[in-house]
């Protein structure tokens, strides 16, 4: 969770950096030290990230469905099998539902809280701490608690939230939570939203603080209404923040695994996502299928992240 926000907030003083003196060109002894310094990182990342991605893709193209060695090259058969498998389609659908809910939930709650705090609410730092705090808990730890809160027993044996609804005479709100076949996965998004909304709030708050007061004043002098002020001045300034939040929350959401393992376990059908399926296949020794699921997952995350990285890179070159 050590995600940073590249490009979200303008770094001050960037343009004032002293330019490299023209006289020293790379090529003398000057390059030895930097190259040596980054070499270990390059090697480690090369082997453990890109090398292993390569080896994963290689495994996914093999006929290797038990713990023995590969039975030969299988081409794209494993992928074809995956996409004709109803259970995999179901878990992809689950993943999309979960990601959509998680994104909408964290962005709207995070924005709402940031907006409230930005209006100089009293006790701002206290609320900021309260909202940010859940992020400090690991998904596994909070999952254990939410497993109980989201218990699907109703009536006499109800516990957690269902019990709360019963005590408040809101019995109609009692529901089977994550065991519902169609919407169960949304229950998993509830703790995720609880945990990450504060983080999105912090992002938006930083965004709000980055907007100079003069801009607002200028807009007001021009006779902009409060809505127009937000619509035409504030929101455009916040859009890089929103984009960063979508990327960060989105890629976390696509990789969801620990929360589901802690709440529902690996064999539960209604909360299947590609990552839990990958684990089950790996544990049974179906390495090719497991690797194919891993590759599909990597591609899905790449679809989200690569355009973002490209645009950030272009922006930085333009500066």
């Amino acid at each position: 969770m050590s995600s940073t926000v590249p490009g979200a907030v303008k770094r001050p003083g960037r343009s004032q950096q002293p330019r490299r003196p023209r006289g020293r060109r790379p090529g003398g002894r000057g390059w030895v030290a930097p190259v040596l310094l980054i070499l270990p990182t390059v090697i480690v990342i090369g082997v453990f990230v890109y090398g292993l991605i390569g080896s994963n893709i290689h495994t996914s193209l093999q006929d290797r469905h038990n713990i023995g060695p590969s039975q030969g090259f299988a081409g794209l058969d494993n992928y074809r099998d995956l996409f004709t498998d109803d259970d995999f389609i179901y878990s992809l659908r689950n993943l999309m539902l979960y990601t959509a809910t998680f994104l909408v939930g964290t962005l709207s709650l995070g924005f709402l809280w940031a907006w409230l705090l930005e209006r100089k609410a009293r006790g701002e730092s206290l609320f900021r701490a309260i909202y940010l705090f859940p992020m400090a808990v690991s998904f596994v730890a909070s999952g254990v608690v939410w497993r109980w809160l989201l218990n699907n027993a109703e009536g006499d044996r109800a516990s957690g939230l269902n019990r709360l609804f019963e005590t408040l005479h809101l019995d109609f709100l009692q529901n089977p939570w994550w065991t519902n076949e169609r919407w169960g996965i949304l229950a998993i998004a509830v703790p995720a939203i609880w945990q990450l909304s504060g983080y999105v709030m912090a992002l938006f708050l930083a965004g709000f603080r980055g907007i100079p007061e003069e801009l607002r004043e200028a807009a007001r002098i021009d006779g902009a209404s409060e809505w127009q002020l937000y619509r035409h001045v504030i929101f455009p300034q916040l859009s890089p923040v929103a984009l960063s939040a979508i990327i960060i929350i989105g890629h976390m959401s696509l990789k969801v695994f620990d929360l589901i393992m802690a709440i529902a376990g690996q064999t539960n059908y209604t909360t299947q996502v590609p990552a839990t399926q990958m684990w089950v296949e790996f544990t049974r020794g179906d390495y090719a299928k497991s690797a194919a699921i891993g590759t599909v997952l990597l591609l899905i995350v790449a679809i989200l992240i690569v355009p973002y990285l490209v645009s950030t890179y272009r922006q930085e070159r333009r500066r």
Binding site: N66, G68, N152, R157, G265
Partner: protein, 423 residues
């Protein structure tokens, strides 16, 4: 200049660290008197059993040193992943724990464990284990592991007080599932949970009991060797009964594990629970008395059949210390080892020659059945099928738990059988 040299040194240091970490893993081998025993017995009665076993091993082999290679967590699945990577890297432990029976298929096919047929002959183990067990342990004509204990899967636990409250004779036994289901419905009408159950694997456990009860032992065995048709009407009828039974269970099953389900019976919230006889330990821990506080009978329709599962130990190919492995297997098979381990773990000895006079009341009934009953292999606990097949069956059962589609369940089971049936 100085800065350059410093950077150079730092870079070199980092590189050499990498090199060191890359070849740091092969420094363990060396002393050959160590016997590393790989298990997932890290806590509770399982740990107590292992400790008792180690004591016997140390007495029998004063010059060998036991090394505990236990990996905790995930009901053994974490341990299995660690084990598999060690086996594939050619670093096997001296011996590892595995469920006896078909679960070993993958290890055998991958050439990772040794055939112990000659050892059985040489040590005279063939005479000490029941023939029915040896028959079920055999794979491709060989025996690949030594069983340390026996558990019975088809046990029905009941709370007599709850049954009486529901107006049902607590001593009643059922010949068939139908008679039992009729009573379960009466219990449900009283607002009590008739049958408690927990998460997916306990549902597989119930399904296995239902198949055994409804098809009978012979047809049940046929499911695993291909002589019984999974798509047939007999299986269909059994699945319908499974569906009925599942509708008579607690609704919050997905959030529970087996101790929670058994606890419902202990606490009088549920009337029945189907669970293996490791549940006995839960009743004992809470000072309950067999016969008055709870009863343990074969699952309706399975009287005279012992649905077995066993833990066992193997000899990995190219193990670090073959003599040490043999010594460990010797301890496992010995009567002293069997008695010490099973008294602590709450299971029963696999060998028929062990002295079981001071085992508890439930264990005595299990020992008697073990000697007399027909033995079949448990599905949910690795004796009947390969890991792959069980994983597919579990997935089908888990799916059924959420959509209640009996035809879909049968389809899933047929598909699982087609994909995994031994040729």
């Amino acid at each position: 200049m100085n800065a350059t040299r410093k950077a150079l040194a730092a870079g070199l240091a980092a590189l050499s660290l990498l090199a060191v970490s890359a070849c740091g893993s092969d420094s363990e081998s060396g002393s050959t008197n160590e016997v590393e025993v790989f298990t997932w017995w890290a806590e509770g009665s399982e740990k107590a059993g292992l400790d008792a076993l180690v004591k016997v091993f140390d007495d029998q082999n004063p010059d060998l040193k036991f090394v505990n290679g236990a990996v905790a967590g995930g009901a053994g699945s974490d341990a299995k992943n660690v084990l598999q990577s060690r086996l594939q890297n050619g670093e096997p432990p001296a011996t590892f724990q595995a469920h006896a029976g078909a679960e070993l298929t993958d290890y055998i096919n991958a050439g990772q464990i040794e055939d112990l047929t000659d050892l059985y002959e040489e040590k005279g183990w063939n005479e000490r284990f029941p023939e029915g067990l040896l028959e079920r342990l055999k794979q491709d004509g060989g025996i690949y592991s030594v069983p340390s204990n026996i558990h019975r899967a088809n046990v029905l636990w009941a709370n007599p007080a709850v049954l009486e409250k529901a107006g049902i004779d607590a001593n009643k036994t059922y010949d068939s599932l139908d008679a039992w289901i009729a009573d379960l419905k009466k219990i449900k009408a009283k607002g009590i949970i008739p049958l408690s159950i927990a998460t997916d694997w306990t549902q597989v456990h119930l399904l296995e009991s239902v198949l055994l009860a409804d098809l009978g032992a012979e047809a049940y065995n046929g499911l695993w060797d291909g002589t019984t048709d999974w798509s047939g009407s007999e299986v269909e009828a059994a699945l319908a009964k499974y569906s009925t039974l599942l509708s008579l269970t607690n609704t919050d099953r997905q959030g529970l594990d087996w101790p929670d389900a058994t606890q419902l019976v202990i606490d009088g919230q549920a009337a029945f629970n189907v669970m293996g006889d490791w549940a006995e330990a839960a009743f004992q821990e809470q000072k309950k008395t067999l016969g008055t506080d709870y009863t343990a009978t074969p699952v309706p329709g399975t009287a005279g059949v012992f649905d077995f599962l066993a833990d066992s130990f193997t000899m990995p190919v190219d193990g670090p210390n073959p003599e040490g492995t043999e010594a460990w297997l010797d301890t496992i098979a010995s009567d002293e080892g069997q008695v010490a381990f099973n008294k602590a773990k709450g299971s029963i000895p696999a060998s028929t020659t062990a002295d079981t006079a001071d085992f508890n009341e439930y264990q005595q009934t299990a020992i008697k059945s073990w000697a007399e009953d027909e033995i079949v292999s448990s599905l949910a606990h690795g004796a009947a099928t390969s890991v792959n097949w069980l994983t597919d069956i579990t997935a089908a059962v888990a799916k059924f738990g959420s959509n209640n589609d009996v035809a879909g369940l049968q389809e899933g089971l047929v598909e699982a059988a087609e994909d995994n049936k031994p040729e």
